[in-house]
């Protein structure tokens, strides 16, 4: 039981950055914008988050620094793709390269520094419950925020008028524009939201996961988040399944190796990717059709004046 508890705790920790970054990107893509710069925004969020927490000693301020750094970088993207109507794919890739460079620059002075890990929730009587206590009531704030965030995104997209408008813009920006909706303004807000989420996801790494900063510490998690959005067919529910499944298989394959299951570790390392793709594809097969990509995804919109 103790081992199972430890495994679940590790799974939650490993899945949280993916869920955070993918949640933001899901909203961005639902608005019809493809921002491939998640990895870049994450790594800048990681550097700034660490800098903030190191300077103030506060995880919360570190997290906020991460969020603002992500937003700042996403504004560069918004300016290019929405303001100047530059190709989104190219800009997103450039944003990643820029982010990796900027984070290295910001973080250079912090390599080798340590901070204390993000505080964990503690509710007397509840956190000490056997087995479920630590899992439900003993996580760091990021875990709760990530779950609240994806629920809020689901509610926003499917239960509010603003969410309906955002989806409409993502499917057909010309019609939405003709109806009088401010396409570019809403898309800019969505991109900023996505940037903030990616920044927070990045900040999670040095603040809660491994409390130090090293350049390149996101190690491709931004790309996995991007892929999760696609394989979840742009649906929040499936995104949650995808993110936790990916996290779970990543952790379980490590344990399986420790137990000495005779499967080559190279295959084990590939399992999280395989399992996530297979499961999400199966889900979208069984339900009729499933949701497809927002129709206007990645296309440039220039309003006629």
């Amino acid at each position: 039981m103790e081992l199972l508890e430890a495994i679940i705790l590790a799974v939650l920790a490993a899945s949280t950055p993916l869920l955070l970054a993918a949640s933001g990107e899901l909203l961005v893509e639902r608005a019809g914008v493809l921002n491939l710069g998640v990895e870049g925004m994450m790594i800048v969020g990681a550097a700034c988050g660490f800098a903030g927490a190191w300077a103030t000693g506060s995880t919360l301020i570190g997290a906020l620094c991460g969020i603002f750094a992500g937003i700042a970088l996403s504004l560069v993207f918004a300016l290019m793709t929405l303001g100047l109507a530059v190709n989104q794919v190219a800009t997103g890739l450039a944003l990643t390269i820029l982010g990796i460079g900027v984070s290295g620059l910001i973080g250079a002075g912090f390599v080798g520094e340590r901070i204390s890990t993000a505080p964990r929730l503690y509710i007397p009587g509840l956190t000490t419950l056997p087995f479920v206590g630590k899992i439900l009531f003993g996580e760091d704030g990021f875990v709760y925020v990530s779950i609240a965030l994806i629920v809020a995104i689901w509610y926003f997209l499917y239960r509010t008028r603003a969410g309906l408008i955002l989806r409409a813009i993502g499917d057909n920006h010309v019609s939405a524009h003709a109806l009088g909706y401010p396409v570019l303004k809403i898309r800019t807000l969505a991109v900023m939201f996505g940037g903030g989420c990616a920044g927070l996801a990045g900040a999670y790494l040095p603040l809660a996961y491994t409390p130090f900063f090293v350049p390149g510490m996101t190690a491709g998690r931004g790309w996995i988040a991007l892929a999760l959005v696609v394989f979840a067919s742009w649906l929040p529910g499936r995104l949650v399944i995808g993110a936790y499944l990916f996290g779970a298989v990543s952790i379980l394959q490590l344990h399986a190796q420790g137990w000495g299951v005779g499967v080559p570790s190279q295959l084990m390392s590939a399992l999280p990717y395989l399992a996530t793709v297979v499961v999400l594809v199966l889900i979208s097969r069984t339900r009729s059709g499933g949701s497809t990509a927002p129709a206007a995804l990645g296309t440039v919109f220039v309003p006629d004046r």
């Binding site: 340590r114 491994t210 130090f212 491709g220 344990h255 190796q257 420790g258 000495g260 005779g262 570790s265």
Partner: protein, 359 residues
């Protein structure tokens, strides 16, 4: 006609003054290819320290460049080619996976000198160099067996290549001498650098009962996890004591600087030759970080072992070495396994209850 004669005279004069002067006026361009970021606080960081030593030593006689975060495989070939075309005359490629790409580029640029770390392939213009890291691992194995209360060691491997496998075997051979029943759990993360994954692997090992963590990956994540959990750990590549002041027992650190200085000097003098360098504790290419967080008797044992390895009286792979099946491994080096057997090691020794992935 006149102009041609003048040029010829000038050329003669230049030859007369000696080529040496002409070369010295030209800076030697030295390039480095790194697998990780220079700030990884591990493997790449140590190579970067070596490069900085070059800059300090030779000043404006040389010009150094480095490319960081170059992944192994096709990407690396492009990067090495780029350095060669940019006029670098001496190129250090610092990861095992760069071996074949380096060899390919070396064949295309016969006048450029190449130095590949931790591999076994060479050419007329390509040297190989590596540390006998297993010597340090042997000391770690002894300390680990002494310090482990549960008798279970946790080992985080990167890729199942000979260098890592020989490290695991050296650890185990030393640990068995202290505690014949010692167990080792091995988790491969299939990456050199991913702090999150390394931390997850460390957590998994601790959760499965290991109480001393050793790693063959490049970030201090595992050290940090062990420190959080109150376990013990060994640093890797760099002294990681900062990340575990009460956790780090010692670390096998890599000291490339002196070698780099020697090779650049040879290149400047024109005496550079393709060679195979394999240096260890004795040559100080492998250096043990201070022995900390252990009782004095363990510390003394570690220091004695270190001295014995340096003196050559203790050989980590002393024959007979028994394979997993209990059969003796052929002893090609007289009283110990020969360098080729260690550099190409692809078997586990007896007592390791696991299988080499993909074998």
């Amino acid at each position: 006609m006149n102009r041609k004669a003048l040029a010829a005279a000038a050329m003669l004069l230049a030859t007369g003054l000696g080529l040496g002067a002409a070369v010295a006026a030209d800076k030697l361009k030295v390039g480095f290819v790194y697998i990780g970021p220079v700030g990884d606080f591990g493997w790449t960081y140590q190579h970067e320290v070596g490069r900085q030593m070059l800059v300090k030593e030779f000043g404006d006689k040389i010009e150094t460049t480095y490319l960081e975060n170059v992944s192994e495989g096709p990407d690396s070939e492009r990067s090495i080619e780029q350095l060669a075309r940019a006029g670098n005359q001496l190129i250090f490629t610092t990861s095992f996976g760069y071996m074949d790409p380096t060899l390919k580029v070396a064949k295309r640029h016969p006048k450029v000198m190449f130095e590949h770390a931790t591999g076994f392939k060479r050419d007329k213009n390509m040297s190989s160099y590596s540390g006998r890291f297993f010597e340090g691992r042997y000391i770690q194995g002894q300390i680990a067996a002494k310090m482990s209360k549960k008798g279970v060691l946790g080992y985080i491997g990167s890729f199942p290549i000979p260098e890592v496998i020989s490290g695991i075997n050296a650890t185990m051979l030393a640990a068995q001498k202290i505690n014949p029943d010692i167990k080792i759990k091995i988790i491969w993360v299939n990456t050199w650098f991913d702090p999150g994954k390394e931390a997850d692997a460390a957590k998994a090992l601790l959760d499965q009962g290991a109480d001393v963590i050793m790693q063959h990956t490049d970030s201090p994540a595992a050290m940090q996890v062990a420190s959080e959990r109150g376990a013990l750990a060994f640093g890797q590549d760099s002294d990681m004591i900062k990340f575990g002041p009460k956790t780090q027992l010692t670390a096998v650190t890599n000291n490339w600087g002196p070698y780099y200085v020697e090779r650049v000097k040879a290149a400047l003098d024109g005496t550079w030759k393709s060679e195979d360098t394999w240096a260890g504790l004795k040559e100080k290419m492998v250096v043990m970080a201070p022995y900390t967080n252990m009782p004095d008797d363990v510390k003394k044992m570690a220091m004695d072992t270190e001295a014995a390895i340096i003196a050559g009286t203790l050989k980590p792979f002393k024959c007979p070495v028994l394979g997993q099946d209990g059969k003796e491994v052929e002893c090609k080096g007289g009283d110990a396994l020969d360098p080729g057997q260690v550099l190409g090691m692809n078997f586990y020794v007896k007592g390791i209850d696991d299988k080499i992935p993909g074998k």
